[in-house]
Amino acid sequence: MKKTKIFVIMLLVAALFAGLVACSDKKTTKTEAPTTKATEAPATDAPATTAAPEPTEAPTEAPAAALTGAIHVYSRDASSGTRGAFEELVGFEGELTDDAIVTDSNGDMAAKVGADQYAIGYVSLTTDFAANNIKAVSYEGVEPTQENVLNETYTLARPFNYVTRAAGDFGNDKKEQLVKAFIAFLTESAEGANAISSAGGIVDAAGKKPWAELKADHPIVDEDNSGIELVTVGSTSVEKAIRAALETFQPMAGNFTFKMSHAGSGEGPAGTVGAEKDSAKKGDIGFTSRPFKDTEDVSQSMSNGTFCLDAVVICAQLDNPIENLNKDTVAAIFKGEVANWEDIK
């Protein structure tokens, strides 16, 4: 009895390994030709387009008329920052259709859209498109690339801005110097750019200097700053990027402490140079996930500007003939007003 049991277990383990070997074989063939998976399901004679999504015009035009049927709208859950940015930028906040599918994460979204020919969804620009069998859809005729985001032609993007208190208004000279040092780290150093992009922000890495070089202008970072607490206020969307930057900067700058109390973009300028700069909501550095408004006068701040950009990319399955979408169409699709692929002009 016991021997048979051991024998069966060995047999199953062997089967498992055989399966693994078989699967890994499949995977290598898949990376060679990513479209094989897609071709076997709908039996369309899609050409062997491998990595590049649109090398030939004619074959991609042909199925354009072919894709008919209900649009499957994929969304993220309510607490997602990507979703917040997408809904805000396209302008349909709180109006997402009831028929949308809710996915758990950026990766989940990419995988599910990649498996559904009728899907439309959105992911961050850093997603691996080819591996998930999805393609990036242009927005307002502009392809979503890092360059287009940085030169501001791709409009499904938003700036992450910072604004500090006015010079001499930090209540403590050391703190003012430390804030200055942090802003230099955030906007000029390669380490800062690294931390921000690891948290999903888009920064132009060109022209960034190593911190060791910039450090010379900020002697404060060599002191023990454990008694100083920096307070950041403003947009919740920037929180991840700023936390990454602060945590990287902390050990480089005398182990200062920081407190992040982010509640919304409006609080950024208000809590540093605006009406609430002396209230309980005050902060040393404020952040917005949008351009500063005309009503927000940031001219008296010690420094202000954009430290990175955030972009959302509309995606569809690789086989989907859709190439470009306009703002109104996107809003209509996600609100459920346009329900079928054939209705998209």
Binding site: A41, A70, D98, I101, A115, Y118, A119
Partner: protein, 321 residues
Amino acid sequence: MDRKEKKTIQAKLDSFHSRKLWQDKIMKRIFQGSALLAALMIFFISYFVISRGIQPFLSSYGDEQQSLIAFISGNRWRPDIAPPVFGVGFIIINTLLTSLGAAVLSFPISVLTALFIAKIAPPKLRAVLTTIVELLAAIPSIVYGVFAAGTITGLVKDVGDIFGINTYGGNSMFAVIILLAIMIFPTITSLSVVAISAVDRSLELGSIALGASQMETNFKVVLTSAKSGIFAGLALGLGRAFGEATAVSMVAGNRMIGPTWNPFDITRTLTSTILSGMHETSPGLDYDMRFSVGIILLLVILATNFMIQVIKRKVGGVTHE
């Protein structure tokens, strides 16, 4: 051996016995303690979930207070819009549909497998099959989830394509049902095997002596005698189906309205609702409502177990417990 010596031996024996008795008492207390701890655990969990889950329906919750009736009868779950809409009614129906669907698919196969393993298979094959079922039960749910997301959804998609149904990449109620059916199969089977093996041999022999064939005996005597254990297996299996969150979330698609009747359409279960966006939520209404859904889930499981007890009493003629 004089009397003195006898006395010392007696004393030694007495001390030995009293020590043993004393050890017994200590062990008894330890067992009692662990039983109490286990019982308290259930009490604590229920208390925590319920006290948290009823908060949103009390007037002390302030502006965001929810209506209990709207919560239970609602057919829309939109925590993302302002003001949020929490309607759990359609999710209860979806959960019942998927879990009972899985049970309908899995129960007959499980019981027949168990009957084969316990009564019909030759000993060698029995050992092999028992091991396979045990191993199936040991596979973690996340692995089932990966399998479902990679394989079952593809299968459902292909089936949908055959019927010309435009599926959501295979994410569907049907995929959830197949997944759950596979997941609860080992639970029902192994408990049924135990129950069937425990049926008194004399009952079986009596049936054969009266002229019944082996198959008639298996179905009419053995299965009905083992029904208590088999239904216990069903109850446990359904418990697993209702409670499975990770794997189900990976293929359910989380529809925000419902209920879902079309098996090729996406669905949303109570567990996937609790899990969805859990890692990014912060304490507040959205967080507390997950506990409210948890209470509903507990109630659904209790109600189903009660129903199974009722069905058990109706099925089969042999009262042998």
